[in-house]
Amino acid sequence: MFFFEEIEVGQRRELGSFTFTAEGIKKFAAQFDPQRFHLDEEEGKKSLFGGLAASGWHVGCVCMKLLVADAQRLAKEAAARGEEVAVSGPSPGFRELRWIRPVLAGDSISFASEIETKRTSEKRPEWGIVQARNTGTNQRGELVFSLLATAFVPRRSVQP
C-alpha cells in the first residue's frame, strides 16, 4: 500500500494471475452462487457461457485476494527498508463492475489495478480518497472483468 502523496493517476500495478479450476468454481458456487451453469459442466455448455463458468462473485473475490497479497508485499518491502507502512482504511464500495466475458474452467486470469482519480477528504483530513480500475484479462488477452473501486488511503503529511 502507498501513502496518498505517492499515488499518481495512471499508476498501474500488475497483481499476478490465477487459474480457475473446475473444482474451485464448483466449490465457490456451492457456497455462494448455486446456479446450474456454475455447478455442472453440461449445464454450463447449454448456457450462454458455453462451458462451466465461474460465478462473477468468485472472479471479484479472487481479484480482492490478489490486491491484498500485493498490498502485503508492498508493506513488507517498506518495512524491510525501515519505512513507515501505509495501512488503507475500509472501502466505502465500488461501481461499474462488468463481467465482460465468461471465466471458464481452466482459464488463467491476470489482474491489474490502475489509479483513475485521487482527491483529499474534507470530512477526514487524515485520509485521501482514491478510485482504481481493477481489471482481469484471460490467457488470450481478452478483458473479462473490470470494476471501479474506491479506497481510503492515509496521508503522510497530516497526522490524525
Binding site: Q31, F32, D33, P34, Q35, F37, S47, L48, F49, A53, S55, G56, W57, G60, C61, V62, M64, K65, V68, Q72, G89, P90, S91, P92, G93, F94, R95, E96, L97, R98, W99, L147
Partner: protein, 150 residues
Amino acid sequence: MTLTLEDFPPGRLGTFGPRHVTREDILAFAAEFDPQPMHLDEEAAKRSLLNGLSGSGWHLCSLMMRMMCDGFLGRTASMGSPGVNEVRWLAPLRPGDDLLLDVEVTEARVSKSRPDTGIVTFKSVVRNARGEALCEMVSPIIVRRREGGA
C-alpha cells in the same frame, strides 16, 4: 413454476433470509480471499477503524448473492448477469449476525439484442437483526421471457 421476466414488475419483491453468519464463516472466507488483519485477527481488528472483527465486504456481497439464489433466483430462468452497477458498504458484518435481504425491482425491460430475454435490475439491501443496513447493491440479471409471451 419457473419465474420469468413477467414475474418481476417494478416494486418490492420481498424480504429473504434469515441467514446466520458465524465467526468461523468470517475467518474462513477472509483466509481464502481477503486476509486483512481486521477480518482475521481479533486484536488487530479492535485497533482498526471498524472496532472489532468484521467480515470482508466481498464476503457480504457473496452472501447477498446466496440469499438471492435461495430467495428467488434458484427458481428463476436466470441466464447470468452483465455486472453490478453499484455496491455501497455501509456498516460492518459481525460474527453472529442474522442477515435479512430486502429486494426491490427497480427496472424490468425486454433486451434489444436478445428479444427472448429481459434485464431485471434489483436493488438489494442487507440488514442485521437490529435493522441496520450493512450493504446496498444495484445489479441487473438477464432473465428469459415466458414462452410464447408477446
